[in-house]
Amino acid sequence: MALAPHIYKMFANIVGSVNISDDPAILETYTFTWLNEFNNLCAPGKFLPHHPEAVLLPGSTEEVQAIVRACNRYGIKFKALSTGYGSHSLPGQPGVVVLDLRRMDRILEIDEKNKFAVVEPYVTWAQLEAEVIKRGLFTTPVQAGSQASVLANLTSGWGMNTFGNHGGHNGRNALGIEWVLPTGDLLKLGPPGEWFTGDGPGPSLRGVMRGHCGAQGGMGVFTKGAIKLHHWPGPPKLETEPGGMMTAYLLKEIPEFLEIVAPCFDTYEQMIDFFYQVGDAELAYAMMRVGGAEHMFSLMGAISNKEMYEQFYSTGLVQAMAEEMKHPCTVMIFANSRREFEYRKKVMSEIVKETGGKILEVMTEGPMKDIMMKQMPVALFGNCTLFIHHAGGFVISSGYMGTNESVVRHMGIPQEEIKGKWAKSGKILDDGADSTYYNSFENNAYVYMEMEFHYDASNPESVNASRQCLSDERNQRRLEKSGFEPNDIGLTCGDYEKSPQQRIMDMGPHYGNFHLWQERIKRAFDPNDVSDRSWYGAGLLTKDVKIK
């Protein structure tokens, strides 16, 4: 149902007539995105069954407020998105107007001394990185890619970063935030006129704003935000040139005090010991694990599937390395001085030995040396999201955040069994059973682990196999009654037969009835229920849920 002409005109008066459209062709492009093929409304297709009513392009906080107030007045639901990547960024129900925040794309401030930047919603990680790196600072770019919105990641969505080892979890880097509440009122987290913190006297609202996973656009619109910045030990510009297989570009010159190594371990226990010891010694600028050798290579060589396959798989190199490299990690050492650099390398080398690890020669010479030292930094700093899509589709199992030991016990080992079975079916990418991605935060105080599944989004059989595979994984979690399923909320992962709200309803009782607490918050902040709640709270399905 289209907007009534007078409503359309009212919105047009707010944003200007060129910044609103209800043309079916325009609206169609707001019904399609990554993971729609997993969404129970579309699967295994790509299009949502409903269009937005209109798409608006507000250019300021004031315009956002005016739109939201009008939505409250006329009972129209709204959903804001920025760069938009994943089903959760689109309206989950009919009757919604979309606020595409693309016109709000300025970096408002970079405070070098206090190490933070203030951004609007459509500033990308790449834009922020380009500006702060010249000032000796760095960010915590989300692994959704350097083209993704900084502010959406800080406030509204899931998404980890590779540099969490020194920079912390993404949500922890949110400072002062400007928030247009679902009522249209403006709330500023942190002190008035200041951005250096998101807190103040009294209870923190950061948990309400974001919590663990964000409200996926279900709690109003975030219009400005400050992000914590971190030290950058490298040069003011990383010069690249075309080449390499990983992201099509490689470093022209390796920064003087940068080294990336990939020690591997025979057992998870050894690997965990290594993570702890490196964390205790505060050695790494970045530290992560990218599955077994087969999985690691499938990510490394993604610039051209053909080249990757012919160079690494057809030659038997990957298969041989998979035997040798049971549990590889990637560690980036990045220092400020020669002395510090040598110290860090030496200590790390000792820890590798002490924990029973090894660094294979093949990783330190020839093409692998080039990949590790010239291509990997571009991939990590440049943070290209697309090299995870080499099979034409990518999804993750439910993620687990906790200590090294707990994530491996609850996720790594059991998921390998399930993944192994499906990887051999030919219906999902056979990149080895061990494709657990593993991010480290705050010197390995805690880690995040998830299992990757690569499928072909253009092939319904492959999509359905992936959905089944993840349902198997989910069922196993439930049998064990030990799983932790944050991604079920944060992304479309989990039990794909159900809608996100059904999943929330399912999970709530296992986790302190969080869904009811969410619902209380939702009703308090959004009394007219206009901020599209398809990915947040429990009320869409259960209007009669009793909130005591």
């Binding site: 910044n19 459209s21 043309d23 079916p24 062709a25 325009i26 169609e28 492009t29 707001y30 399609f32 995105t33 990554w34 299009f47 798409v55 392009l57 938009g84 990547y85 595409d100 693309r102 970096i107 500033v123 990308t124 790449a126 834009q127 922020l128 500006e131 890619g145 350097s146 083209q147 993704a148 990383l238 075309p242 099509a248 570009y249 470093l251 499938s298 993604a302 610039i303 051209s304 599937n305 053909k306 396959y309 700093f381 440049g382 290209c384 999201t385 697309l386 090299f387 899509h389 080499h390 099979a391 034409g392 990518f394 030919g426 219906k427 990418l429 056979d430 072909d456 989004a457 253009s458």
Partner: protein, 426 residues
């Protein structure tokens, strides 16, 4: 060959927005010049991005939407500059640009050209006059009056100088052809032209989706060039060059000649000592990489959706992955650096990730506002370098720069690289 051949590429789009920007942060130098796609930069709705057009194409194939004035407006509000293709291919094997082009062919064949009067007019001009400017064929030789140039209809030569419609027929642009011929003569090049018998390369037909006219014209041109027995076809127009080098190979007949842009050829002549830039040309310049001399000149053979799988579900396209890295980037810079006194200042977006001038893909004729906004953005980037002059090697870029400079009261000047070289050569 049909739009449906690329359905899998459409379905694999993840709507990540990478196609809107210069890819990966290490290529970026500032917040200000991070955009990659002129169409989305102007219109902002996702539909105008490459991803948006892929989504629309899939929707069309699935019968969810049909052709409409808005679909055509979105589809043709695009310079087909290829930047989105590069950004996407940084991490995928998808053929994004081919989908955009095939979408236009589909629209043209299904009668949507009736909504595109400016494009139809250009195509009819090619059909009637063998040029895009509705000029009589005989005028193609006006620029060459007084110059000693072989007529390859009558004589043999090693090099065919393929002048192009705009350099032959646009009074303001003829100087580039003339300067080029003068330089060739100075260097003792054995060259000639087809004179009034030169035919348009058919780039506009290719760009708007008139596949029939493109194939017919390209085939005729290839056969003509082969029959001449020339070793090289050298063209001054980046549009002609990009099309002949990158797209003619998909037509079929074997091309028994090498294709070069004149700036490449002149660079070779300088390196061989046949041209000696020695007079000082004191000027701070910046160089604009034309899309069709740069990333779009890399020869592209479309897959038409042909692929096979390995490791279960990993698709492999059995064609070379072309990102535009092998465009002509160094020769123009080497020519400019060979001229004493010139100070070359680089723009932030350059080489394969250069920002389009806004003129291509039929945009200048049908959507002048997009052409103007896009060129103003480039002029701003040029101004930020501190240069006083922007240099290019493409008539379409130069003309759009001239229009942009006039409209924005910019103090920048625009010249062709050949204009500078001839000043320096004794």
């Amino acid at each position: 060959m049909a739009l449906v051949d690329y359905k899998k590429d459409m379905m694999r789009c993840v709507r990540c927005s990478t196609c809107k920007f210069i890819p990966i942060s290490s290529l970026l130098k500032s917040w200000r010049f991070a955009q990659g796609c002129p169409a989305i930069a102007k219109h902002n709705f996702h539909a105008f991005s490459a991803s948006g057009k892929l989504i629309m194409a899939l929707s069309l194939l699935e019968g969810r939407i049909g052709y409409s004035p808005k679909v055509i407006e979105i589809l043709y509000n695009c310079t087909l500059c290829g930047m989105c293709d590069l950004s996407c291919k940084v991490g995928t094997d998808q053929e994004l640009w081919e989908v955009l082009h095939e979408f236009r062919i589909d629209a043209w064949q299904k009668g949507e050209k009736n909504r595109l009067a400016p494009h139809v007019s250009i195509v009819e001009s090619i059909k009637s006059y063998d040029n895009v400017w509705m000029q009589p064929r005989r005028k193609r030789t006006d620029w060459a009056k007084g110059l000693k140039i072989k007529d390859l209809n009558q004589e043999k030569a090693e090099v065919l100088y393929f002048v192009g419609c705009t350099y032959s027929l646009d009074p303001e642009m003829r100087r580039v052809a003339k300067n080029t011929a003068v330089l060739f003569n100075k260097a003792g090049v054995d060259f000639g032209t087809l004179g009034a018998n030169e035919k348009c390369c058919a780039s506009p037909a290719f760009m708007v989706g008139d596949e029939e006219l493109f194939v017919k014209t390209a085939t005729e041109n290839i056969n003509t060039f082969n029959q001449l027995g020339v070793k090289k076809v050298v063209t001054s127009c980046a549009g002609c060059f990009g099309l002949i080098k990158s797209k003619y190979p998909r037509v079929g007949p074997e091309m028994k000649f090498e294709v070069q842009h004149s700036i490449e050829f002149l660079n070779e002549l300088i390196k061989a000592g046949k041209l000696k830039p020695s007079k000082e040309v004191s000027m701070a310049i910046t160089y604009h990489d034309p899309c069709h001399l740069g990333r779009m000149s890399d020869t592209r053979i479309p897959s038409h959706g042909k692929e096979y799988y390995v490791l279960g579900t990993m698709p492999i396209k059995d064609i070379p992955k072309v990102m535009g890295m092998n465009g002509i980037y160094d020769p123009p810079r080497e020519v400019l650096r060979s001229i004493p006194g010139l100070k070359l200042l680089e723009m932030e977006r350059r080489r394969e990730y250069s920002w389009c001038c806004g003129s291509g893909g039929g945009v200048k004729s049908a959507y002048p506002e997009l052409a103007m906004d896009t060129v103003k953005e480039r002029l701003e980037e040029a101004r930020a370098t501190g240069a006083e002059t922007i240099v290019s090697c493409c008539p379409w870029c130069e003309k759009n720069f001239e229009d942009g400079i006039r409209a924005s009261d910019s103090e920048l000047k625009v010249v062709d690289a050949v204009d500078l070289l001839i000043q320096s050569v004794e």
